[in-house]
Symmetry: C2
Subunit: 238 residues, 2 copies
């Protein structure tokens, strides 16, 4: 197996930056669980694999990297032993009926967890506002646990998207109505907002059904990924 | 206001380690939101405050720290301008009826989010196994968003605790029964397990009601804090 050149190391490291990922339409996936997921579902998107195992063999363009170089490449505390450089997909899913719209979520762990949760509850498509953190950020990929590769996700101007859609729009607002007061069905858009500020002003007026998860204790709010879980569970309920 | 001495800086930094927090029965809270929460609810527990604001005044023992020293003290990427050293509480709540039992959750963000979620849904008490990450870890404090100070939390041998309890024990298991098939009421213990391994073998046999959150998509599982949210929401439902 060929050794990974210094130039290639530099190139892979450059993909840590969103602007380079966008320029090249590529991203990096780390760890054997995630790489296996890519090989299983997205093999035609694989550009190359890098492994610390000299005996590693695969049908893809593959390179050997030293453990030291892998540490340089990895964005995680403990570097894994394999990574893949992958072409970004062109997400489809135009006939989607159960849609999660995400307005400005900033924490990569929250976004990844929301993608994983949406996959669990059968969401057809995710629309992120342009202010939302990049789904190809390494921490989003990690916390999505592979769901990122199974669900179409697009970035769009949410105001335009919501305005043009004919589906009911359920928005999670602290001043919304108790979500258990109405029967929910999954021909809908569920809109969730930023961790600190909630849903943007200009999108609030487009919400056809403002909803609230009723609470009992003294917490001021729920974490946005937990709120997504509680709401999507209710929509997905048989 | 007195300047914080080098020895005191060393002492506060030493509280980053769980063993020192246990030895001294103290922990550190960062950021004005959290410190305000402590002042409002736990003022008798405050040992001292440290602020970067020279004009800072309060009724508590207070020190001035330079921005540079605050960076040394802080465990966060961007250091805040205030922190408090706080005595650990002696949690009570023996007549608790709605209990969250946590078996070996390792990620501080997950544990903090679970505490916040439990607070929202009116959980009376949280019991953590000894393998669960320390609730006084700075990331747990941060992600609990103040709920840590409003809900009694103890560490215990969960096997002994569950064995002695007379409440029904609902355990989230991937092989459990659809949770929507039975009416849940909040006189119960809800047991959730470790991120990777779920609930420990020796605790599984104590579960009186194995439950599952039904899914529709292809995700293998839910994040443990999201699962806590979906389950606690169902229990808390009016």
């Amino acid at each position: 197996m060929e050794k990974l050149s210094k130039n290639k190391i530099k190139w892979i490291r450059s993909l840590r930056l969103k602007k380079n990922r966008e320029l090249e339409s590529l991203f990096v996936v780390e760890g054997s669980k995630m790489v296996d997921e890519i090989i299983a579902n997205w093999s035609e998107h694989i550009v190359c694999l890098c492994s610390t195992d000299e005996a590693f063999q695969s049908r893809f363009e593959s390179y050997h990297v030293s453990i030291q170089s892998m540490k340089e490449l990895s964005t995680f505390h403990s570097a894994s032993d394999i990574l893949a450089v992958v072409k970004k997909p062109n997400p489809e899913g135009s006939d989607a009926k159960f849609i999660l719209a995400i307005d400005g979520v900033q924490d990569p762990g929250n976004l990844g967890t929301m993608i994983r949760t949406a996959d669990w509850f059968g969401v057809d498509k995710i629309i992120c506002s342009k202010e939302t953190v990049d789904i190809f950020n390494s921490k989003v990929i990690q916390s999505s646990m592979g769901s990122l590769f199974r669900i179409p996700i697009v970035y769009a101007d949410l105001a335009v998207y919501l305005c043009e859609s004919k589906l009911p729009i359920y928005g999670a607002l602290l001043e919304g109505e108790n979500m258990y007061n109405s029967k929910l069905n999954s021909n809908a858009i569920v809109l969730l907002g930023n961790e600190g500020n909630g849903i943007s002003e200009n999108l609030r007026t487009m919400i056809t059904h403002p909803i609230l998860i009723p609470g009992k204790g003294q917490a001021e709010s729920l974490n946005v990924a937990v709120a997504a879980g509680v709401i999507l569970a209710e929509f997905a309920k048989p």
